[in-house]
């Protein structure tokens, strides 16, 4: 199957089942979804609806039980683990609810980490790191460790880290889940800015009002299936 060039991600009848003892958990069930380049898509749903699993499949962190996921015309299900690692390094950026910064590294070192993994030349790294940090407005906190940063600053650091390899797709899993309302809005504004610069954003959230304010499109999942797919109300 081929995909059209304006599609950032395409899920084609994707299923992901887990074996939990004797039982089979149907986390994602026959989901098909096309996400256009430059879209800001919110994946909504209650806990256990399968939205994070779908995001992990799009990130190449997990493989579908059946079906196919295309990113930039390439089927992730057919990629080797090395190719998936390259996909995560060069095509996508990931932001987590729990920030997932490395506590013993400074802000600058955390942001630099994806460049090390992508084997970017040392000469180019400094400017790339500064550029990403300036984008999230944390230039004054370069040498601070995560424990010395607020929750919002940590999430902005995580966003800078996700952007430093200049990905075309940003995947965010509950990026405001650990933040207060005002800080959450700050982060959402930042994500909007990033989206306006041309980066496709797929965001998992259970906060419908916030999604309605910032996302172009809302896909709601329940019991592993897409139950609604539409634009802002």
């Amino acid at each position: 199957m081929t995909t059209e060039h304006h599609l950032a991600v395409r899920a084609d009848r994707v299923t992901r089942h887990y074996q939990m003892g004797e039982a089979i958990v149907r986390a994602v069930e026959d989901v098909s979804l096309d996400i256009q380049t430059g879209e800001f898509v919110a994946l909504l749903g209650s806990s256990g609806s399968g939205k994070s699993t779908l995001l992990n499949l799009m990130a190449g962190l997990d493989r579908p039980t059946s079906g196919a996921i295309f990113a930039q015309d390439r089927n992730l299900a057919e990629m080797s683990s090395e190719e998936l690692a390259r996909h995560r390094s060069h095509t996508i950026g990931i932001v987590f609810q729990a920030f997932n910064l490395l506590p013993r590294m400074t802000l600058e070192e955390n942001v630099e980490l994806p460049l090390r993994l992508a084997e970017t030349d040392r000469e180019a790294r400094h400017s790339r790191v500064r550029e990403a940090i300036e984008r999230v407005r944390l230039s004054a906190r370069l040498s601070h460790r995560p424990s010395e940063l607020s929750g919002g600053e940590q999430q902005r650091t995580a966003i800078a880290r996700a952007l430093v390899n200049r990905p075309s797709i940003l995947l965010a899993d509950e990026p405001t889940g650990n933040l207060d309302s005002a800080t959450g809005d700050e982060i959402m504004n930042l994500l909007s800015e990033i989206n306006e610069s041309g980066v496709t954003i797929i965001m998992v959230t259970h906060e419908r009002p916030r999604a309605e304010r910032f996302a172009h499109r809302m896909v709601t999942m329940s019991d592993g299936k897409v139950v609604s797919d539409g634009g802002r109300a």
Binding site: L61, R86, R116, L117, E119
Partner: protein
């Protein structure tokens, strides 16, 4: 991930759990130290034995004798020997000296003497020493000096004889002693018919004054290591003394050679590996030839097996230490499970994770190897020190029983790294195989 980044991240990880990683590294160091100490003892003892044997001058020498005549096997009751063997005379000596790779050919001149010093007689055996024997190392560390010339009227005493003569053996150096020996003198010309030369000879006692120039621990072994002489004198001087030899009677009976024949000749070769070819050539010339090459090969084999066993015992500690590496890295996987998940989410491949753990294991192996070699070297010195304290207590000369050559330093460090990397295979594979989604969920 590039090598430098890998090294930086591995270094950071190792510093994170500094105490645990230091203890693991110390465990490796103890293992390597045990290995190095054991091997240094084996190599040291081998060097000691080889050195001592080399000093005997046996391993670069071929001992030549005349081929014996063969008994008549067709008639077992007739035990007379037949055939005419090639005589080992002066002509044969010159022929042997002209062979390639031969540096010296000299007879084994050994004769009974009586030393007179301060009016007391000391019966013993004297032996002529070729100038080339000086290079063997047998005279290294002797008290006094080697002979000043090839025919100098000088003597070197073996320590036991020197002790017999004086309570202060070293005080004999520079003093003169009188040597009494039996000289072979040909009978005057004119046989029974008054025309022919006589083939007979007479033996008359003679004396010779010699100055003691040195005192040596043991005599360098002569042909077949026989006849421990206690007084050594220059070979050329010994030859001019025309002392009565064991072969004289045989020469008289056979009358096969106009000149004097030798019981045996020692052929010195410039390089021990060439001994075999020289030996073969001499056999083809019609002489009996024998060298200790095979004996030295057997000795080398014995020490190789000895070193192997010492190495195996020494390696056991390193194997135990490698379990410590496995334990440390498996603990690190548990502690850094989430971090591994983050690395993978950010683009690290399974291979990157595996390399990171390998570099950490290898770094511990490298550091443990370096420290271990240092500790092993110190243990070797302690063994030497203890051994020499013991030997000095028994009035014996100091020796070195351990040796840490450069090849051992390099090999021990390399072995430590290899063992550490092998120990890292399981943890590294386990870390690389972690499911990133599961790892990211880990608290």
């Amino acid at each position: 991930m590039k090598g430098r980044d890998l090294a930086e991240l591995a270094g950071r990880n190792l510093r994170e759990a500094f105490l645990r990683n230091s203890l693991t590294t110390l465990g490796i160091a103890v293992g390597v130290a045990s290995l190095v100490a054991m091997l240094s003892l084996g190599v040291g003892l081998q060097q000691l034995a080889t050195d001592r044997l080399a000093r005997t001058g046996l391993f670069d020498a071929v001992f030549v004798t005349a081929r014996p005549t063969t008994p008549n096997f067709r008639n077992p009751t007739d035990m007379t020997f037949t055939g005419s063997p090639k005589p080992l005379d002066e002509a044969a000596r010159q022929q042997l000296a002209s062979l390639p790779n031969v540096v010296d050919v000299y007879p084994d001149i050994r004769f009974p003497i009586e030393i007179h010093f301060n009016g007391n007689p000391y019966p013993t055996v004297a032996s002529g020493i070729a100038p080339s024997a000086r290079k063997d190392g047998a005279f290294d560390g002797m008290n006094g000096t080697f002979f000043s010339g090839p025919d100098a009227d000088e003597a070197i005493l073996q320590i036991d004889l020197a002790r017999q003569i004086s309570d202060h053996p070293d005080s004999l150096i520079g003093k003169d002693l009188t040597l009494r020996y039996a000289e072979r003198q040909p009978l005057p010309s004119g046989g029974a018919d008054g025309k022919s030369d006589s083939d007979g000879y007479s033996i008359v006692p003679k004396e010779k004054n010699l100055r003691v120039v040195g005192i040596i621990e043991t005599e360098p072994a002569g042909a077949f290591g026989m006849g421990r002489a206690r007084l050594l004198l220059p070979l050329q001087l010994a030859e001019t003394l025309r002392t009565s030899q064991a072969t004289d009677l045989r020469d008289l009976l056979r009358n096969t050679s106009k000149g004097r024949t030798y019981d045996s000749l020692t052929v010195r070769v410039n390089d021990p590996p060439k001994v075999k070819s020289v030996e073969d050539t001499i056999k083809q010339m019609g002489f009996m030839a024998y060298s200790l090459l095979d004996a030295s090969k057997s000795l080398g084999l014995v020490f190789t097996v000895f070193d192997l066993f010492l190495g195996i015992f020494g390696s056991l500690a390193l194997v135990v230490a490698s379990l410590g590496i496995i334990n440390t890295l498996v603990m690190a996987i548990l502690e850094r499970r989430r971090e591994i998940g983050i690395f993978k989410a950010l683009g690290a491949s399974d291979f990157d994770i595996r390399k990171l753990f390998f570099v950490e294991a290898g770094t511990m192996g490298l550091l443990g190897g370096v420290f271990g070699v240092c500790i092993g070297w110190l243990i070797g010195h302690a063994i030497n020190f203890g051994t020499n304290v013991y030997l000095r207590g028994r009035n014996l000369p100091a020796i070195s029983v351990t040796a840490v050559p450069w090849w051992m330093v390099g090999s021990a460090i390399a072995f430590s790294i290899v063992v550490s990397l092998a120990a890292g295979i399981y943890p590294a594979s386990r870390a690389a195989a972690l499911d990133p989604v599961e790892a990211l969920r880990y608290e």
